[in-house]
Symmetry: C2
Subunit: 390 residues, 2 copies
């Protein structure tokens, strides 16, 4: 009998210990965001934004739905930030698995190695904030079959499941996936942000693509940050891409900060913001659409945008009312040029701001006559001339 009670005591002890692990965490759902200043309120510091006059009605974040495509170094931190900000709905897309080789970036932990990125992320995010609705899509959006699923997912991904998502955030690492998102967003007329980090890990950027209003991803070669590194010291061949949690974290921060400004209508949303980590330089500019773009939906959107009365064009930038902080009390001169509204009538690409360059020098594919020297480096002037002739 004493053996039995010993064993029973052991069982109780083990169950208690197990319970500690199982219940470690989580919090209950919160019905309504409160601005009460108590240690137990996960939203007090966010609601303070509205009491300080930075954001009007912060709770509107709960009515917003965002798709995050690519849950890697930038996408996972992006999803983490949006979750902690209390976004209404997050739709994650990735088809990769977590690896130990990802541990030099934020978010994933070694125990998640081998798990699908979207599932591992959703579990962590749901644990951090159970108020956020999280949907996962574990497939490659660039395949023919998946593309229609992707189209459908973002077109019905709104907060209520009927309309489209409010924004798509591209956090992918390749050209093909970016073009896929571009095609989908042009067709569905959905605004999206592109983001990217260089292979040597020391630069990155974000870019806002509003169909018809700013350049789409097919309008010109991708715009990237020009690193002022002597080309002689660069050794890219046969080397896997480098990455740093710092650069990824900063790019995710820039992406989500501009997402918040866009969704909640405060401050100025940057159309393009670059980051050169070696010299802490952050170039900005606005890319206008190419009237000769290959993407027919881009051309349709341009026509639609240009047919709107000028005053309406401006209103499309905001949601409910004018931005909160559009004055510039300190007369700070920006590197950016923000005159998109009158620009889409010209086929000539605009001059690049200092510190930016096109990712590649080749003329767009549809150029009918490819010169023999198409692969030879050409000057920006020559490139511009080529592009004008598309």
């Amino acid at each position: 009998m004493s053996e039995i009670s010993d064993l029973q005591a052991q069982i109780i002890e083990l169950k208690n210990e197990l319970q500690k692990y199982k219940s470690s965490g989580g919090r209950d759902k919160i019905e309504k965001m409160s601005s009460e200043v108590v240690d137990s309120n996960p939203y007090s510091r966010l609601m303070a934004l509205q009491r300080m006059g930075i954001v009007q009605e912060y709770e509107r974040i709960r009515t917003k739905s965002v798709a995050v495509v690519g849950v890697g170094g930038v996408g996972s931190v992006t999803a983490d930030m949006l979750t902690r900000c209390g976004i209404g709905k997050l739709i994650l897309f990735d088809y990769d698995k977590v690896e130990l080789a990802n541990m030099n970036r934020l978010f994933f932990t070694p125990d998640q190695a081998g798990l699908s990125k979207v599932e591992a992320a959703a579990k962590t995010l749901n644990f951090i904030n159970p108020d956020v609705q999280i949907l996962t899509n574990n497939y490659n959006i660039t395949t023919m079959e998946s593309f229609s699923k992707f189209l459908d997912a973002i077109n019905t991904g709104g907060i209520d499941g009927n309309g489209p998502v409010d924004l798509v955030l591209s956090c992918v690492d390749n050209f093909e996936a970016r073009m896929t998102i571009n095609t989908a967003c042009n067709e569905l007329n959905i605004n999206w942000f592109e983001s990217g980090v260089s292979e040597n890990a020391v630069s990155g950027h974000i870019q806002l693509l509003k169909p018809g209003e700013t350049a789409c991803f097919a309008c010109a070669p991708p715009l990237v940050v020009a690193e002022n590194i002597d080309e002689k010291t660069l050794k890219r061949e046969g080397v896997c891409a480098a990455s740093l949690p710092t650069t990824m974290g900063i790019v995710a921060g820039m992406l989500v900060q501009n997402t918040l400004k866009f969704l909640l209508n405060f401050g100025e949303v940057s159309n393009y913001l670059g980051y050169n980590a070696l010299i802490d330089f952050f170039p900005k500019m606005t890319l206008r659409p190419n009237t000769q773009c290959n993407d027919r939906y881009c051309l349709e959107r341009q026509t639609e945008f240009n047919s709107k009365p000028k005053v309406l064009q401006e209103v499309t930038v905001v949601e409910d009312d004018t931005p909160l902080h559009d004055d510039n009390l300190y007369g700070i001169e920006l590197v950016s040029c923000d005159d998109t509204s009158s620009s889409s009538s010209s086929a000539a690409p605009q001059a690049l701001e200092t510190g930016l360059k096109f990712a590649f020098d080749a003329a767009p594919q549809t150029k009918e006559h490819t010169p023999d020297d198409a692969n030879v480096d050409v000057s920006l002037d020559e490139l511009m001339a080529q592009m004008k002739s598309i």
Copy 2:
């Protein structure tokens, strides 16, 4: 008998389940950083930095020790990034507990509510990267008794436990703690970075303080980012501080990126880098020491620095050799002025760069005659004039 074997079977089952939770995760320590490109190597993407010519001998990070003072919104992400980068040793300081009200920032999770910040952080960081030596200090550095413990901790916190830490990172949220770090670092001649985020969550900065070479924290009122918000819309009174994971993450990213550049000698380390989230503006400048500084150790360090031959002064910036990327192929003009070497002979504070301002307008405490209107707003010119007369 069957009851006993039932109970024993139950015990085995419970033990197995418990083991699953206990062992969920972690990875074994790694003796030497490898650049092998395999999914199981957590350092492959970091070692690629050296193969790409960005960093020379990335493994040197393992010989570096950094103190992080304050493990809140900025400090926790800072520690996370450094841990994932494989820093040799991290010494954490904080005396606060995790609360649900911290969940709107990255890193901590709801299950950690109530735990000490340093202990919760150390556990997570150790789980993420067991190769990093992590020490915790759970006390308030500003008390008389703790100050000597703090001095001792950073003065013997080097990688081998004999010399001082390589760098102190201030991630605290109040003036007193910053002044405490300043006092300690001036006395011990330790380089440190200050960081800060505004109470309305939409601006932040980092600042490098090299005793004798750049301004110390007592040389002038703290320099902060001027937000171009109409003061009429600001409502600060009776409101708890707002915070955003985006702003905190970007400031932590700027802090750790410059820490990596400083420790591993690549790129250009920024002496001051600000961030205005509302307009994505990143002002830079260099603050020179005040020859009339109140801190006597600051004055000693200035004398030491000025007595060094000019060529030596330049060498103190680097560790082993010249920085890897000090050329500027694109002729990018920076907002910064980087002429610290010849400046510490003048008592007059330099003009502020656009987008920056002093945190408060009052003249430093030791000013012998406090005018009756000391609390009234004064113009920058008047402030400058006052400061010249210290």
